[in-house]
Each structure stands twice: as structure tokens, then as C-alpha cells.
Amino acid sequence: MLLHYGPQLVNLLAAILLLLAFAMLSQRRILSLINLFAAQGFVLFLSTMLVAWLTGQNHLYGSAALTLALKVIALPWILHRLIRRLEVKWDVETLLNIPSVMLVGIVLVILAFNLALPISQLAGTVTRSTLGIALACVLLSFLMMITRSKAVPQVIGFLAMENGLFFAATSAVYGMPMVVEFGVALDVLVGALILGIFLFQIRERFDSVDTRHLEKLKEQ
């Protein structure tokens, strides 16, 4: 029964991921942004577990556990501590107004779907149609990074991008070899820690974590 609905459930989870990506794009408050990021990680965990169970790819359980530990627990915890310690303002300003960003987002989704179409037709995985969604999530996180002026949302965008990539790996090829998964996870964790250190340095220097202060270096 579940086996029959399995691929459809994966599709549903993929759609929820995309929905969350859009929610992050339109979210103004940092705290909600972090919670959305954690939710995205959790959906990712669920979908990875589901794919692992459907396909019998045991190494995916490992990836799922890694996702749960890193993206649902560790990173949101770090981010929560970070914003509490940084005492950043709760509201995030966007550089563009939100409907325009969303409109650009839709265009990106169409682009991603078109790009993924030839690839997913070749894929033999039960989850192939979700590749477009994974690509769209990557592009949307990218969009979020470039439309936000504050450092913390940019960091969240960066991490969300990695979520999308991870989902792409699960949906197109049932996950990368474990060595690579571990390496990527390590890089993300270290990256987040370094960014944390970095934000403190920036604030110490500029008394704010608005990256618009970081626009002095330009070509004359």
C-alpha cells in the first residue's frame, strides 16, 4: 500500500520543499526564516528516509540521519544562538519588494523545470520528476541570497541552497557515495561555523550585520 503511494508521497514532500523555499523567499522575520529552514531540513529528512525505504538503498539512511543531525538540529541551533548573541533586529529588509521577488522566483522555477526535463527523462529513479524541484530550490535559495541585505538571511540562503543540492542528489541518483556525503556535510558544518565567527567579526567592526556596509570595495 505504502509502496504504491511511495513515489507520490516523495512528490508531495518535494512540493512541500518548494513551498518552503517560496515561504523563505517571502519571509520577513529572521526567526521564522530559521524555523522554515529547519522545517525544510525535516522534510528533506523525511523524503530521504522514504526514498531509502522505497529503494532499499541502505546508505541513504545514513544520509537521512546526517540530515537530521545537521540540518534540523545542529544548524538551526547554531543560527538561533547566533541571532540571540548578535541581537540582530527581527525584521529583515529585502532589496526588492516581495511580490517582484516571487515573480522572479516563478520564472526561475520554470527555468529549472525546463532544464531538468531532459535529465529527468533519462533518470531511472522512481523520484526522477522531483529533480526539477530540487533545481528550483537551489535557484530560489540563490535568489534569496542576492535579494537580502542582511548577513544572517544570506547565510540561511546559502545553507538552503545546500538543502536543494542534497535533494537533487537524492532524487536523481539516490544520493552520492557516502565519502562525498560526509565530506559535503563536514564542509557545510565548518562553513556555518566560520560564517558565525565571521558575523561576530563584522558586527564588532561595523556595529551591524547589514551587508550593505560591505560595499566599499568597488572599481573606481
Binding site: 541552497m161 536523481a172 570595495l217
Partner: protein, 490 residues
Amino acid sequence: MLEAALTAWELALLLGSPLLGAAMLAVFGHRARAPELNAAFSVLTLLAAAALVARIVVQGPVTLAGEQFFVDSLNVFLVALTAFVALTTALFSRPYMRIERDHGRVTGAGMRLYHSMYQLFTFVMLLVLTTNNLGVMWVAMEAATLTTVLLVALYRTHASLEAAWKYFILCGVGIAQALLGTILVYFAAEKVLGAGTASLLWTHLDPVKDKLEPTVMSIAFVFLLVGYGTKVGLVPLHNWLPDAHAEGPTPISAVLSGLLLNVALYALIRCKVITDGALGRPFASTLLMGFGLLSVAVAACFLSRQRDIKRMFAYSSIEHMGLMTFAFGMGGPVASFAGLLHMTMHSLTKSAIFFAVGHAAQKAGTQMMEDIRGLARVNPTVGWGLMLGTAAILGMPPFGVFASKFLILTSAMAQQPWATPILLLSLGIAFASIFGKVQPMVFGDTTARRLPHSPALVPVFTHLAMVLLLGLYMPPFLADWYRQAARLIG
């Protein structure tokens, strides 16, 4: 059997020495003798690299540790270059960083971070070069950003923090695209080789490259190009490069220019070989040529507008990386040979220039070119080092850069005649801008007094002497080695 074991040991030493160095320097990096320890580990790395080179030249390509590592003449050449420049930079940074610490720009914790990250950076560079696994290559490439980003921000000034932030975000985003590319390569490979680690191993991919799905591979290469191309500093993804070079400590600028860019280009070349093999037409090569040429032209135009000397040479690095990318894009034995030669020459010359510039800026207390004058009077060694380095990088005979540039230009004339005028014009503009700015810095009038002691500039002159020697005479074994490597690139 014995030989295989020996090779494995050499590789273990090559990778283990910087790793151990990083661990030790993380603890002792602030001590007075730490710079010597740093250099000692680099010597050890270079020795391992030399031994590995000797073995590969005799034995041919080998795979090690359950095929996780792969060494052939292409990457062993870069391993040797990396280890060598890492050593000379470590030697240069010994007095340089001491002075910085005396000036109070760096704290003890900063020194610990610097030394430890320097070794770790060497480690990840060598890992990118020797790994056989495209996934691990990506991981190491990302780690290279992570290890250097805090070093760029070492001085914690406004500008350095901004540069580091830009570096991190741009390279982070870029490298994420490369991960997507890697996933797609794995996707294509899985169809042919089946699931599992083997499908990401270069030695397994290379023989079956013509069976890989062309559509997927072409999309994958575009992502890989964006990802690794950001690291190479290809226009229009180059924005982080001048800032990171200008604001970080000079030894870091030297290794960024001399090593990181090369290694990123190496990753790109490996991907190009597979992609073109899969497509059966020069798709990746054409893209590389286009971006290479664009980088050369745009960087040349930006050169004349620079006021910060490290920024200017950073743009010069973009120009030269573009030239190499163009050469590898053209392909064929001559062009690839020229590209490899240029890679060597550029690494040596550019790091020598950064060493000289570092000293000059340290003495002058500024990096603004209009404030640095009369180096030949104030400090002849630094002045002449800078002048000779500039002459070399601009491709004046008899330096080796002349030979490599000449080769690239002649093969461009033969294979892609349309590109030659653009290249010539760009090189001309670059020559005029750089020379026009460096000349008054070295020979201009100054009121500053001659400094009492001159800095140790052994690394500068070692590099320049090597560039000069290679320009005058290329030993046959070296030429042979380059030819082998060029054949691998195709």
C-alpha cells in the same frame, strides 16, 4: 609490490605532513619558532612531492589506496609546483609575518590561525590534485575556500572583512553549482558504471567517457564551469578575486594566485576531458576558450584603472588565468603544452612579485601605488625584484613567460586566428598599464631614506632565476614531462 608500497608511503607523507603541520601549528602557531616549524613542514611536503615525481616519471600513472588516489604526469607536475611554491611562500612569510606581528596588525591567536590554516590549505590543495574521486575533489575545493576565508580577514579591517565576506559568499555559491555539476556527472556515470563510489573515480570515468549521456554531461559541465570557474577567477565570476588578493596578508595573496587558481583550473580541465569525450565535439573546449578570452580582455581593461598594487596584480592574475584557460580550451599538443608551461611560469613569477610587493608595501606602509616611489633607491633588492618580476610577468624575453606566451599566441594563430588580434591587443594594454605604473614606483623620485637593513628576498630571486633559466633552456626531461601531461589533456 615494494614499489607500490613505497609510492603509497610517499603519498601518505605528502598529504600527512601538512595535515600534521596544521594540527601542531594550531597549538604552537603563536610561538617564536612557529614560522620555522611551518617552513619545516613545507620542506617535508616538498621532499615527498619530489620523491613522488621521480617515481611517476619512471613508473607512469598509479592509483593508490583502493583507487581513491590517482597520480599521473599531469597532476604530479602540479603537485611539485604546489609543494615548491608552498615552501618558498612559507620562507617568505617567516620574516613578513614577524614584522606584521611587531607592527601589531596580527595577534598571537591570529598567528596560530595563520600558520595552521596555511598548512591546511596546502593539504586541501594537494588533496584536490591527488584524489581520484570527483566528489572528494569538490569537497577539498570547498575546503580550500574555508581555510583561506579567515586568513583573508586576518587583519579584521573593514576592507578585509568585506573582501572575505565577498570571497566566501561568491565562492560558496559558485562552488555549490559545481556540486550540482558533480551530481550530474555521477548521474551520467551511474548509467554506465553502476551506483557506488567507482562511478565518481576519474580512472573509471575516463575510459568510458564516450558512453556517458551527452545532454547530461553538457549541462553538468556548464555547472562545473560556473563553480570551478568562480575559483579560477574567470570573468564575469571574478569579483571576489581582486578584493581577496588586496586585503589579505601578502603570503596569502601569493598562494591564492600561485596555487589556488591553478588547482581550480586543474579541476576544470579534468572535467573538460570527460565532457568533450562524452559529447564527441569540443563543447567544453569552446566554452573554455570563450571565457578565457573574455577574462583576458576584461582584466586587461581593468588593469589601467587600479591604484592598489596588489589589486593590480590580482587583475593580472585574472588575465593570465584567462590566457591559460584559452590555451587549454584550444587543446592540441602545442597549446596544452603552452598552457602548462604558462601555468608554471605564472605561478613562479606571480608569487615572486607578491613577495616583492609585500615587502615594498610593508616598508612604505601603504598599498597605494602613487605613495610608493623610488624603491630602487630606498631598497634596491626589493626594487629590482619588483622590476624584474614585472618584466617577467609581462612576457619580456628572455624570461620563461615570454616562451609560454609566444607559444600560446602562435598556436592561437594556427588554430583560432580570429582570437589572435584580441589577445595581442589585450596583452599590449596590459603591458602598457602595468609597466607604466611599476616604473615610477621603482625609479621615481623619493624623499625616503635608504633603509638600514634589506629583507631576505631569497624566494623572490629563486623564483625569478628559475623563470629565467626555463626561458633560456628547457631541460629535455622537463619538456618530455610537459608533453606527457599535455597529451592527457588532449
